[in-house]
Symmetry: C2
Subunit: 465 residues, 2 copies
């Protein structure tokens, strides 16, 4: 008989019919006459209650039904008399696939700390919490592809291994096939990278943006969705060495189009979560973050406030003058901290905020320069609780201005000649932004440590599994 997923059984139960389900035992309780087995198959957060009449099943079978054991159960679906579920499965046949020794299985019935679960990341997808997070993670990925596909923008795979470090977004991991125990040296006694796989030093990408622009200036609108890497030795709840980024880049867009896209995009993702992940969100909200649902609705309910950096500084300076205390100083030219961004969002405007026109010194070389000579058309989207969720800009489309600014910022022309060429040959206005996927997931799941929203986190001294 065809197996049904528990998600299907609960969503559209066909009472008094015989069905087969397969899954893992979450808990078992009961009395001398009957056992109640909570079975989970990962398809949803809900367990299906299995009712086993002990007169029908041998003690040898029943004693193997412990937390973590895997079963197939054939039975009849009936309305449940008990609290907590509307249907239950009256077991007619139970097949044990695999037992699970209660003395050695690390996941027992009740709540383990998130820290403990990080150490056993290879098993934590079996918990309610990580099941919920991974299903939401899946749904956010689908929502992202759905959004851009419907717009007519094309998914582009930018390279992971790169010989360019022009983006300058952070420290890079070296990639090599050289034997470190016996490095080849050239005549000058230096490491001979001609012997390396690519014939020169290479590293893992920190951003797909520059290559994404190459594609956008041919296909019109594109987006990337791939892993990026930062070798910063930061052991914090907000840093990963390996994380996933989404970077749309759209030809013929100015910074205002870019703001419209970023607002529509983030609202689409949040709406998708509410529409498709209600049970998982309810679980996480109840167990980790009572304010989660309100924050999600806050994003949907408001038009994002659009202000310039200069206006933002004025508001913050006024707040300080009126007695508000910040940990970090505020002045024109400073790179704002999360506390400043959150003040604007949560207290001043009580809306998500899009801030534009940043001092050029604190932004990357490729951002479009404003006429004032001081600011660039950067654009950050600021959210409650987490601050900056998106960073982007209109790009400098003028060849001479871009080349000069790259020189000023110390980006060697030999590293970006191909990027500059796009401004020599049929340049167009264009804009784009980057969204850290795990940053989005922190917001949507309400989790507070970024290691808990990626299956296998990579951090200093940790590359397990």
């Amino acid at each position: 008989m065809k197996r049904l997923m528990i998600k299907e059984v609960i969503a559209s139960p066909t009472l008094d019919q015989e069905i087969t389900v397969m899954g893992w035992v979450r808990t078992r309780r009961g009395n001398k006459a009957v056992s109640f087995i909570a079975l989970n198959d990962g398809s949803c957060i809900h367990n299906l209650q299995i009712v086993a009449d002990l007169a029908r099943f041998s003690p040898e079978v029943m004693q193997q039904i412990t937390t973590g054991a895997s079963l197939a159960v054939r039975g009849t679906l009936v309305a449940s008399q008990g609290a907590g579920q509307s249907v239950e499965l009256q077991a007619e046949e139970i097949t044990i696939f695999g037992t699970c020794d209660p003395n050695s299985y690390p996941l027992q019935k009740k709540g383990h700390s998130l820290e403990f679960l990080r150490d056993i990341a290879y098993l934590r997808p079996r918990t309610n919490t990580f099941g919920a997070i991974l299903r939401i993670r899946h749904n956010m990925a689908i929502a992202i592809h759905e959004f851009f596909h419907k717009k007519g923008y094309y998914y582009v795979h930018t390279p992971i291994i790169t010989s360019s470090d022009a983006e300058g977004a952070g420290q890079m991991f070296r990639v090599t096939t050289l034997n470190l125990d016996k490095l080849p040296l050239n005549k000058a006694g230096e490491v001979d990278y001609k012997k390396d796989f690519f014939g020169k030093p290479t590293a893992l990408t920190v951003s797909g943006q520059l290559e994404g622009e190459l594609a956008a200036l041919a296909l019109g609108g594109i987006y990337t969705f791939g892993p990026t890497f930062r070798a910063e030795n930061s052991n914090t709840p907000r840093h990963l060495a390996e994380f996933w980024m989404i970077e749309p880049e759209i030809a013929f867009f100015d910074v205002h189009d870019n703001m419209d896209l970023a607002e529509e995009f983030t609202k689409h993702c949040v709406q998708w979560a509410l529409d498709n992940c209600a049970d998982d969100l309810a679980f996480l909200s109840e167990h980790f973050d009572k304010g989660l649902m309100d924050r999600l609705r806050f994003v949907l309910a408001n038009s994002y406030e659009r202000i310039t950096y200069t206006q933002g500084i004025e508001i913050l300076e006024k707040a300080i003058a009126e007695g508000h205390k910040f940990e970090f100083p505020v002045y024109w030219g400073v790179d704002l901290a999360s506390e400043h961004e959150r003040y604007l969002v949560e207290q001043h405007f009580q809306k998500p905020v899009i801030m534009t026109d940043y001092p050029k010194e604190i932004k990357a070389f490729y951002m479009k320069q404003n006429e004032d000579g001081k600011t660039v058309r950067g654009m950050d989207v600021l959210f409650p609780l987490i601050g900056e969720i998106i960073g982007g800009s209109e790009r400098e489309a003028d060849f001479d201005k871009l080349r000069t600014h790259a020189q000023e910022m110390g980006v060697p022309e030999k590293d970006i000649w191909w990027y500059l060429d796009t401004r020599r040959f049929g340049t167009v206005p264009h804009a784009g932004f980057g969204l850290g996927f795990e940053r989005l997931l922190l917001f949507v799941t309400g989790m507070s440590n970024i290691r808990d929203v990626i299956p296998f986190p990579r951090t200093p001294n940790n590359a397990e599994f």
Copy 2:
């Protein structure tokens, strides 16, 4: 006025209305009275014909309209009198975004060789050929997510940087933050990996399968879609150092379920291409591969023939006995070559073939062992022209058998204890397969060199852009 994509204009033209389009000049021709400009914006393979009455536009503007220049054109859409298009845009206003010097722009009007375009990979998305390939690549990615999402399988990001090399699929790239010019040494004089970012040697993943199994044995059904890496020094039209893989893994699946899934999945992708990429396929078929459409329909029209490896060997031996010549020898135990696979598909069965039950010596340690003690439940899908497109298997679910076989194959238990644990704690039957994304694209686009179906190919001595 809102800009329309040329794809929209051509798909649902609204005649005698004023519209604005933006794009790049492909060609320009005409006479003393009128210029015909073929404008492409990357949204589709088609150009929109712009008709510019020279009495309306200054010579200074018109002389800037050369191949590769970028324009915005406002005008009225009218039925076209000329051959080759049904509508054209009567230009009322032309804005030049960027000029394109004919003397230095590498892409002139007519066909460049694929080899030449590989050297200028940063510009080749602007050609018809690579526009078509990249739009098909996008569509195949969307088709893949759509397929698994509808099945209720969850997209999982398996790690890119790994400290495990248990998969054994090939040579790996080392990932490090150590300074190669000044490697730290321990007291024994060896490289001190405790000083490396992760505190031990790490490398780029060759497959997400083992981690994918961890997720499948919690969520039920999952798939990966991410980059994988092989550091093999192979300069061939079929090898990339960096490529993308899709690896579904489904709990409670046996090898027959796996075959059903692989057949349905590949047919879904091909059908999606026919439904959504007709114009791009027509272009590639006409210019590169006249047999392309027939091969795509061949996949859809047939049930895949399912045979065992042993049956396949018998058929091949019979063919040899009857005078068929192969370059490589055929005997029970050999790893079949592409010519053998293609003979079975193209000549013997004239259908795609799924071959199962391979000699255990030529397959990986994790495949389920058959009762005969000689074969394992591997499963390869063989396609016309390219041979193996999918490799997969039912996995060994028995802890003791898996451990013993891993030992026999030389996989150290210290590297896979976490993988073995999934067979200790609630093991279940499960199966999965891997599809090389670029292999699929070779089949669907009809291109013959794998460097032409990925935006920025990484191969020995090449990591440009």
